[in-house]
């Protein structure tokens, strides 16, 4: 089992869109894949037309009780299951801090899935608290979508220094450019600079495209309703890159 967290400490960078599309592509390779919607807003859950309800409430995430495993739903797609969000997940940060070994609870909760799933993809909410540490501990690799803007890059720096300070292996943190506007000079320039300065920046990016926003209308991964679009192609490229660089490096 490989756990891949799509995470950022900044909002609106395309985390959920990436998580939904990547989990779909992972499942398409024939491997059983689970997408976990950790975000109380439940956008990924909505995209897959699943009801945002955990049988266990947020406690399942803390204590790994039966209910959380029974909450898994099959999506419309082969080999892809979902652990849906629940509005009560907003309390997760607080709940984690209340219990012992508070930073490895998520990892422990996910462990029983190892027998069934080859990939677990975590769609994470914006956080840099205890939940973030749970995510970093649970994930084999963390993937950070990066908008090529100064603020976004600045937050990324914050994340890296946070990881270094708390002894998280930064070589397991990768990033890719998201919501790229190819007409903006600044986007292009920043992409070049950032790729030089930071390690683990994947040479593949997702442009800012209306096709991706339409996910809300079609409630499906891009490749399903618009398989030949640039949007579908860019997620496919990103997934190929992830396989080559992160999952099966030569």
């Amino acid at each position: 089992m490989t756990t891949l967290a799509i995470y950022s400490n900044k909002g609106g960078v395309g985390k959920t869109a990436a998580a939904v599309n990547l989990s779909y592509l992972a499942a398409q390779t024939g491997f059983k894949t689970l997408i976990c919607d950790l975000d109380p807003q439940g956008s990924a859950t909505y995209y897959f037309r699943v009801k945002p309800k955990l049988k266990s409430g947020p406690k399942g995430f803390v204590k790994g009780v039966k209910g959380v495993y029974q909450s898994v739903k099959g999506t419309d797609f082969d080999n892809l299951d979902m652990l849906p969000a629940d509005f009560s997940l907003r309390k997760l940060d607080v709940l984690y801090s209340r219990f012992g070994n508070s930073k490895k609870r998520l990892k422990k909760m996910l462990r029983p899935f190892a027998n069934e799933y080859r990939f677990i993809i975590l769609d994470c909410p914006v956080t840099i608290g205890i939940l973030a540490e749970n995510i970093l501990n649970a994930a084999d690799f963390t993937l950070v979508p990066l908008i090529p803007t100064t603020l976004s890059v600045r937050t990324y720096k914050q994340l890296l220094s946070f990881c270094k300070k708390n002894n998280y292996d930064v070589t397991k943190i990768y990033s890719f450019f998201s919501m790229v506007d190819r007409h903006k000079k600044m986007h292009k320039e920043l992409m070049v600079t950032v790729s030089k300065v930071f390690k683990g920046v994947l040479r593949s990016f997702v442009p800012y495209l209306a096709q991706i926003e339409k996910m809300g209308i079609y409630r499906a991964p891009v490749a399903v309703y618009s398989p030949t679009s640039l949007a579908a192609q860019s997620y496919q490229n990103l997934w190929d890159k992830i396989q080559k660089t992160i999952l099966y490096p030569q």
């Binding site: 059983k32 037309r49 898994v72 099959g74 999506t75 419309d76």
Partner: protein
């Protein structure tokens, strides 16, 4: 609650539309695009995957491993050329899983199939898929005119929505459909391509009746072995893998063992003639088998060498490869020779002859269970005796003698296994096998050492190259020596386990408590 895929058999002349129409009264149903794919199923000649309930199949550019009883994919890997041997697979989970099952056997294409599917999705009010129905037609790939060899309807529940699937299953059953399994399908599709799953196995599996006359029982055993020889002899020239010859040779060896160990059941003259004949048959392929073994352990040899010498050994294997090609041709010629054909024909004729009315040998009319008990118990005591001597004085030669004794005992126990309680027999054979593994390892090391020394003298190539290769061989011989010592050290423990008082008591109870006694 329903969580597994169900495969319903569809009756001939079923109407897909009518089924769907019927269901549409109760569910929102969405038709999906039709798709067809080529599916190829692989297994080894002796059905190793099928016997472990696995299906290895490819579609598109991926290989998939499934469990025979389920439809989900266990492992999958991309490939450009269909792998034949385990070493052709890329490193990974699939390779790790297959390695202990197929070992050195080649994978063969069993059958190419064409699967044509029409999927339907069952939707809930959110237009979320809550179950799937797939009409699938399977037919042989090459022969498109042939009618479909299987037609069925898959009901695939979607996780988390078991109620929908249960309800659907119920209505399909009410419509008169019956559930079929993956195994059933496998067993239906393969015969349509002329393949019988599990039809070949080199394992001795002979059913005998305890009261059967011993000469007849000996013929039943021999006929089984002859069949194994015939099957492998027929595919020998394809050079599939080294196991074809190996299985063949084991059958020859077992035949020789049967002739000498199932004593006094045939006229002495006959027994002697066939003993000689099969000694000749065995010898035909001795060289080739030895060469096969060296080639198989190529990687192991290399691993034994220090890194600086590793490439220097290549000329040796190049040389061996050439010798193997020659030896292979020689065996092929041998198997096609008149002499060989006559030996086999004579044997077959003899085995199929009706039993003579009057006994032609002292044990011919003895109930086989009596003879089996006697022979096994006697051999067992022989093994214990020889082994005990070795414990006092470990001579290489004696280990060799013991190895042969054990083999004879093993064959006897396998020939007659059906006459005794299965569980106990398996346990005893297992224990014997562990002892044999130890002795076999020791013997292999001795043989390899000897061979390397012999071949060193006859290596081709220029002198400089030769010298380097000779250094590498020298290093190998030394490593083998050390390994021999380790194996030898382990012998005492293995033997003590085998000759333990409990084991001796069990042997006695099983084979020496029979009412009729006497020397064989």
């Amino acid at each position: 609650m329903m969580t597994n895929d169900l495969r319903f058999n569809l009756p001939d002349g079923h109407d897909e539309n009518q089924f769907v129409h019927h269901l549409a009264d109760q569910y929102t149903i969405k038709k999906e695009p039709f798709f067809a794919q080529k599916v190829t199923i692989y297994d080894t000649f002796d059905w190793r995957l099928f016997n472990k309930s696995f299906i290895l199949q490819s579609s598109g550019n991926r290989l998939f491993l499934r469990k025979l009883t389920k439809s989900e994919i266990l492992h999958s890997v991309e490939f450009s050329r269909a792998p034949v041997f385990i070493w052709d697979f890329p490193a990974g989970e699939l390779k790790d899983k297959l390695q202990p099952i197929i070992k050195m056997r080649a994978l063969m294409k069993l059958v190419d199939l064409k699967s044509r599917s029409r999927p339907y999705r069952i939707l809930n009010p959110d237009e979320k898929t809550v179950a799937r129905l797939i009409f699938e037609e399977i037919q042989p790939f090459a022969n498109k005119r042939k009618p479909a060899s299987a037609v069925h309807l898959w009901l695939k529940p979607v996780k988390g929505y078991p109620k929908y699937a249960s309800k659907l299953a119920k209505s399909l059953k009410e419509a008169g459909l019956t559930i079929g399994t993956e195994k059933e399908f496998f067993l239906k599709v393969l015969p349509s391509a002329g393949k019988q799953p599990g039809s070949y196995s080199a394992k001795v599996d002979i059913q005998l009746d305890p009261a059967m006359r011993s000469d007849q029982a000996a013929k039943v055993v021999s006929r089984f072995l002859l069949n194994v020889m015939r099957i492998n002899e027929a595919i020998f020239e394809k050079d599939l893998d080294t196991e074809v010859l190996h299985d063949y040779r084991v059958a020859v060896r077992r035949t020789r063992s049967a002739l000498s160990q199932i004593k006094y059941v045939f006229p002495a003259k006959t027994t002697d003639r066939f003993k000689k004949n099969f000694a000749y048959v065995g010898k035909l392929s001795n060289d080739l088998r030895d060469l096969d073994v060296y080639m198989l352990s190529q990687d192991a040899y290399k691993a034994m060498l220090p890194a600086v010498l590793r490439d220097d050994i290549d000329p040796l294997f190049g040389h061996l490869r050439e010798k193997r090609a020659k030896a292979f041709k020689q065996v092929a010629r041998g198997l096609k020779s008149k002499k060989y054909a006559k030996i086999m024909k004579d044997w077959e004729t003899f085995l199929n002859m009706p039993p003579p009315d009057s006994a032609t040998a002292p044990n011919a009319e003895l109930p086989v269970v009596d003879l089996a008990c006697r022979r096994i118990y006697k051999k067992f005591r022989g093994v214990v005796k020889t082994g005990s001597k070795i414990l006092v004085n470990t001579e290489d030669k004696m280990l060799h003698v013991l190895r042969i004794e054990c083999k004879k005992l093993r064959y006897l126990m396998e020939f007659f296994a059906s006459l005794f309680p299965r569980k106990k027999m398996n346990a005893l054979i297992g224990q014997l096998k562990r002892l044999q593994d130890n002795l076999g390892d020791f013997n292999d090391l001795c043989v390899q050492q000897k061979y390397l020394l012999r071949v060193a003298a006859a290596l081709p190539g220029n002198r400089q190259q030769q010298k380097k290769t000779l250094v590498a061989i020298g290093s190998l011989v030394e490593t083998l020596d050390r390994k021999k010592d380790t194996v030898k050290d382990a012998f005492a423990t293995r033997f003590a386990e085998f000759a333990s008082p409990e084991n001796q008591a069990l042997f006695k109870r099983l084979f020496n408590s029979h009412p009729s006694k006497g020397g064989a």
